[in-house]
Symmetry: C2
Subunit: 197 residues, 2 copies
C-alpha cells in the first residue's frame, strides 16, 4: 500500500538513514565513488610494491658475473634480502588479485572480517621484514665495500647496492599500503563494514 | 519542572543518547573506566620501551673494556644503534610524562588533534628507526664474529649483542604502542574525540 503523499521534494534526508528515495541513491553513488577511488589507490600501491620487490629479487638473483666472482648465496644478509623480496612480491601479486576482484565484483575474496585483518597484519609484518632485511643488507654492503671482494669484482657490489635500494622502495609503498589497510580495519571495527568512509 | 513519572526502573536507555539520567551517568562511568584502562596500557608500554631502549643505550655506551679494546664509536652501525636508542628513550620519557598528565588531568598536553597525530607519527617512524638500526647492528655483529676483533676481545662482541637484543625488545613495545596510538588517531578522525571507545 503506497502512501498518498510520497514527499519527494523539499524533504531533508539524513545521511544515516538508508531510505529508498532518490536522495539516498545520490548519496550512495557519491560514497561508492569514494570507495572506488580508495580501492584504486590501494591497487596502485600494491602494484608499486610488486614492481620494486620483484626488481630487487631479480637484481639480487642475477648478481654473479662469472665463475670466479662471488655469489649472492655466499652472504647471509643477501640471502635474507632475496627471500624477503620474493615473499613480498608473491604477497603483492596475491593482494593485487584480491583488490581487482573486490573492485570488479564488489565483495572481498575472503569473508570481510578475515580479509581486513589478513591485509593489515601481513602488511605490517612484511613491511617490518623488508625494512629489516634491507638494513642488514645495507650494513653488509658497507662492510664489503672496504674488502677485497669489492675491489676485485666491483660490479657485484654495485648490483647488490641497487637490489637493496629497490627493496627499500618496495618497503616505502608497502608501508603506505599498511596505513590504508589499517584504516580499513578500524572502519570495520567501528562501523561493521569496510565500505563506510 | 519535573516529569510526574520519572520512569527510573524498567526503562531501556540507549547507549547512544546522552540524556542526563542516572543510567547515562552509569554509562559514562563505564566508558571512563575503559578509557582509563586504555591509557594505563599505553603508559605501561611506554615504560617498557623506555626501560629497554635506555638499557640498550647504556650497554652500548659502556662497551669498552680497556685502552687496547675496540670502542662502539669505531663502528657505524653501533653508533646508529646508540643514537636511535637514545632518541627513543628520550621520546618515551616525554610520552610517559604526557600520558601521566593525561591520566591525572583528563586533557592532553597538546591540543587533541596535534597530540594524537604526534604520537602516532613518531611511534611509527621511531619503530622503523629502531628496527632498522637493530638489523644493521645485528649484521655487523655477525660479520665481526668471525674476525680478529671478536677472538681478541670476546666481551666486546657479547656486550654489543646484548645491547642490540635490548634494542629489539624496545622495538617490540614501541610497535605495540604505535598500534594503540593508531587506534586513537582513527577514533579521533571518526568521532572527533580520542575518548570514544
Amino acid at each position: 500500500m503506497r502512501s498518498p503523499h510520497p514527499l519527494r521534494n523539499g524533504e531533508t534526508p539524513s545521511p544515516h538513514h538508508r531510505i529508498p528515495d532518490p536522495h539516498a541513491h545520490f548519496h550512495s553513488t557519491v560514497a561508492l565513488r569514494k570507495i572506488r577511488r580508495f580501492n584504486l589507490l590501494i591497487l596502485v600501491l600494491r602494484l608499486a610494491t610488486f614492481c620494486f620487490s620483484l626488481a630487487s629479487f631479480v637484481f639480487m638473483l642475477t648478481n654473479s658475473s662469472g665463475s670466479g666472482s662471488p655469489h649472492w648465496y655466499d652472504f647471509d644478509a643477501f640471502r635474507f634480502s632475496l627471500a624477503a623480496n620474493a615473499i613480498v612480491a608473491l604477497y603483492s601479486l596475491f593482494e593485487m588479485g584480491a583488490s581487482v576482484w573486490e573492485i570488479s565484483m564488489g565483495v572481498t575474496l575472503f569473508p570481510e572480517i578475515v580479509q581486513v585483518w589478513f591485509d593489515f597484519g601481513h602488511d605490517q609484518v612484511f613491511a617490518y621484514l623488508l625494512l629489516s632485511t634491507g638494513s642488514a643488507g645495507t650494513e653488509l654492503a658497507r662492510t664489503l665495500n672496504g674488502t677485497v671482494t669489492c675491489t676485485a669484482t666491483n660490479a657485484f657490489c654495485v648490483q647488490s647496492a641497487i637490489a637493496i635500494a629497490l627493496g627499500f622502495a618496495g618497503f616505502l609503498f608497502l608501508g603506505l599500503s599498511s596505513l590504508l589497510s589499517g584504516f580499513r580495519v578500524v572502519c570495520f571495527i567501528i562501523n561493521g563494514s569496510r565500505l563506510h568512509l
